[in-house]
């Protein structure tokens, strides 16, 4: 594994993403995830899933604190990723730790739905 292998950055104007591997794997999202970048979000999450499994990591941190807003279509992509991750074989299964900012209304409210779909693989950090 090299640092280049993990360079999965994205700058779509309104939406920015950075994927990094320090002591843990981290996906940081910032800006606004909406109608304009739903396909990009789907492809990004699929690529992140592939990297995590290739690295045989047991956990990924998804930092949403700087994400102003996520529309329902992109939220669906996040749920799709979680549901797919639940189906991986045991040796490829990993936890998804969502780092959220509860002062952002959409993040606070959407946690209810996330916990419904997470089934033990999703941990929400509201710190």
């Amino acid at each position: 594994m090299t640092a280049d292998d993990l360079d999965l950055d994205l700058d779509l104007g309104d939406l920015r993403a950075a994927f990094a591997a320090d002591d843990v794997l981290r996906l940081i999202l910032a800006g606004s995830a909406d109608f304009n970048n739903e396909v990009a979000v789907r492809e990004l999450l699929a690529a992140v899933d592939e990297r995590i499994r290739r690295l045989r990591a047991r956990e990924v941190v998804v930092d949403l604190r700087a994400l102003d807003f996520m529309n329902s279509s992109c939220f669906k992509q996040l749920i799709s990723w979680i549901l797919a991750a639940r189906q991986h074989p045991e040796e490829q299964r990993y936890r998804i730790r969502l780092r959220v900012d509860p002062s952002r209304y959409w993040q606070k409210r959407s946690l209810t739905a996330i916990s419904f779909f997470g089934d033990g693989i999703v941990i929400v950090d509201a710190g």
């Binding site: 909406d34 109608f35 304009n36 807003f69 529309n71 329902s72 549901l83 959409w106 739905a113």
Partner: protein, 163 residues
């Protein structure tokens, strides 16, 4: 406190987030950092995305208003309306979805069910409308006149202490 604004614009996905941020800033200024401001911004975004996505001509209309609803109590009616022309199939789908909201005892559960159902579909899932109902508690209604479709998201709140 009474305030409203109208916008008419050519459908543009890029404008939706700009309008959401404006609504959030405007109502945070009027109401303080109240959850209601964030709810209005969320509902405006989801309704406007639908209006842009399913529009079949070059005009999308938006109205956001905060109007005092009673002389006796500080109750205010917050309303978001979008209006656009849409295809018959979209109007049929949207009408069915709003009908499901009216019958749903638990909007949050309906939203979760719709998320699961939508994962297998590509469009017309109504997730944005379900999210408004589940995450803001606003009532969502629809009016149809020929190929004109109007969505109305509404909530009444006591804004005591503000005038």
């Amino acid at each position: 406190m009474n305030t409203s604004f109208d916008m008419t614009f050519a459908p543009s996905a890029q404008i939706v987030s700009v309008v959401r941020r404006f609504v959030l800033s405007l109502y945070e200024r009027l109401l303080g950092r109240d959850e209601l401001s964030a709810q209005l911004a969320l509902a405006t975004h989801e309704l406007l995305e639908n209006a842009v996505k399913y529009n079949i001509d070059d005009t999308t209309f938006l109205r956001v208003s905060l109007l005092r609803n009673s002389d006796e109590a500080p109750r205010f009616l917050m309303t978001i309306r979008t209006r656009n022309r849409a295809s018959p199939s979209h109007i049929t789908t949207a009408t069915e979805i709003v009908g499901r909201f009216r019958e749903a005892a638990d909007p949050a559960l309906l939203y979760q069910q719709m998320i699961l159902a939508s994962i297998a579909s590509t469009d017309g899932s109504g997730l944005g409308l379900a999210r408004i109902r589940a995450e803001t508690e606003m009532n969502v209604d629809i009016k149809v006149d020929g190929d004109l479709i109007e969505f109305i998201a509404e909530i009444e709140r006591n804004l005591g202490g503000r005038s």
